[in-house]
Amino acid sequence: MTVPTDKEPSATPAAPPPSPEAIVAIPVRHYGRWISAVVALSVLGLIGYAFSQGDVNYGAIPDYFFNDQILRGVRNTVWLTFLAMLLGVGLGVVLAVMRLSKNPVNSALAWFYIWFFRGTPVYVQLLVWINLGIVFKTINLGFYQDEWADFMTPFLAALLGLGLNEAAYMAEIVRAGIQSVDEGQTEASHALGMSHGKTLRRVVLPQAMRVIVPPTGNEFINMLKTTSLVIAVAYFDLLQAAQDVGSESGAAVEMLFLASVWYVILTTVFSIGQYYLERRYARGSARRLPPTPFQRVRANLRSLRRPEVAK
């Protein structure tokens, strides 16, 4: 007991030790960073120069940015992305659960679906959907019957083509998510008297979301861009709108640039949404959630106004 421990506050209530001198040192110079910055900037400059010298009418881009046709294309692209992802996620969850089911028929069906839709290019699937009239001349659902050609509108072909294909990929993502949840969770839930379905909905899926959301955000952004393939079924999306406007106005390439800018804006907005969604499903996994960028900015501002007071 003679050795004083620094944990004992009562041991030395004397004056605090003087704080040592602040370190003054010459920081390491990062010459590499400077060199790579110079190289990158000059390459960018050269590319920018080339584009500015090209025969491009840049003025057309802002002129047509909020053109009615373009806006309709943007709306259709966003709408189609949402619906195709909704179909993909919904069906993907069902397929994932079937795949993991004890019922061999369900699991084989799901396996076959995934195998088939992942095995064929989505562009081909789109073309097949619109041309399936060759197999089904008419459609008869009992309450609804029609010629196939009238039934299978470009929108429906686009939605089915993209959504059903997406479901195969989502099924794998959801399956990985479900399998990432500790078995003790299912067990605890069953021990409380919860049914399989309730266990899945209330316990397993919410925890699987942490694993499911990030790749799903990726899929979403991919989908947004993949919708440009629906030109194959003559659906009026952003790319189609840009091409139409381009051929009318004679600024074809400019309108492709315009479409690119719109795609970048949309993917950026989705990425921000994804960030907040991921944060929501991180609940409980960490002791504290990391601050959002917005909260971080506010905290920084606050610290500027009111400098930290030592206690």
Binding site: D182, G184, Q185, E187, A188, S189, H190, A191, L192, G193, M194, S195, H196, K198, R202, V203, P206, Q207, Y281, R283, G284, S285, A286, R287
Partner: protein, 259 residues
């Protein structure tokens, strides 16, 4: 075993067998747990204690023998001499009367302590949120954690998590509680709090089957004790007798290692 009263035993096992593929884990377990009894199960690792506990609420299916809880067959219905498997829904509804506490707590990490306790009453029993919340708060208070209600499990210590897990199981107002080594994942200084809660439950007359390595708890609180080894009951009796005066060699050598 305690056959004192004529009451229906809370748990009755008759030559219960269980194998996982070629591995025989339970090789004929016979025992009886009387209502309001604290029944302790001890034995070396791999002897099948957890497996037996899981059979009681049908998390595992037994291969042979019979198992009753409160006079009803576990997992089956007997009709004209034939056994019919219960539907998943029926099994689930029977489990509501049996609480289970796990070695690794298994709290739901995406819910707060309060939400964990409210989950089953609200979503299984369809109790109103308001009344479930009120009862959940009382239960959290009972395990000494009222102030931790809004915390997520990751923000609680192991001992606190286990006490929330006990509150969660109690929220279904079970007639039987199963404990599978509830304190063996805890730091020594946290064990006491959990055992105190269990002691309180025992005093309130809860029927409990407890797999444990806490011989002090078994001796003090237990009404009956069974020593299991290699899938069979080797020795059974009152905890004080078995622990202080074991009859079988295997019991003696096991106790000499853990005491």
């Amino acid at each position: 075993m305690s056959e004192s009263s004529g009451a229906v035993p809370m748990v009755r096992a008759e030559r219960v067998h269980k194998s996982f593929g070629p591995l025989k884990v339970l090789k004929g377990i016979d025992l009886e747990v009387a209502p309001r009894e604290v029944f302790c199960l001890i034995g070396p690792s791999g002897s099948g204690k957890s497996t037996f506990l899981r059979c009681i609420n049908h998390l595992e299916k037994i291969n042979a023998g019979r198992l009753w809880v409160d006079g009803e067959l576990v997992g089956y219905r007997q009709h004209r001499g034939k056994l019919y498997e219960l539907k998943d829904r029926e099994v689930a509804s029977k489990r509501r009367d049996i609480g289970m506490v796990f070695q690794r707590f298994n709290l739901f990490p995406h819910m707060t302590a309060l939400e964990n306790v409210m989950e089953a009453p609200v979503h299984v029993k369809r109790e109103s949120k308001a009344s479930a919340r009120e009862r959940a708060m009382k239960l959290l208070d009972r395990v000494g954690l009222a102030d931790k209600a809004p915390n997520y499990p990751s923000q609680l210590s192991g001992g606190q998590q286990q006490r929330v897990a006990i509150a969660r199981a109690l929220a279904m107002e079970p007639k039987l509680m199963l404990f599978d080594e509830p304190t063996s994942a805890l730091d020594p200084e946290l064990v006491g709090d959990v055992l105190d809660v269990m002691r309180g439950l025992a005093e309130d007359g809860m029927t409990m089957v407890v797999v444990t390595h806490e011989m002090g708890f078994a001796r003090e609180v237990g009404d009956a004790l069974v020593f299991m080894d290699d899938g069979v009951v080797v020795e059974a009796g009152h905890p004080r007798e078995v622990l202080t005066n074991p009859q079988h060699e295997r019991t003696k050598s096991f106790l000499s290692k853990v005491l």
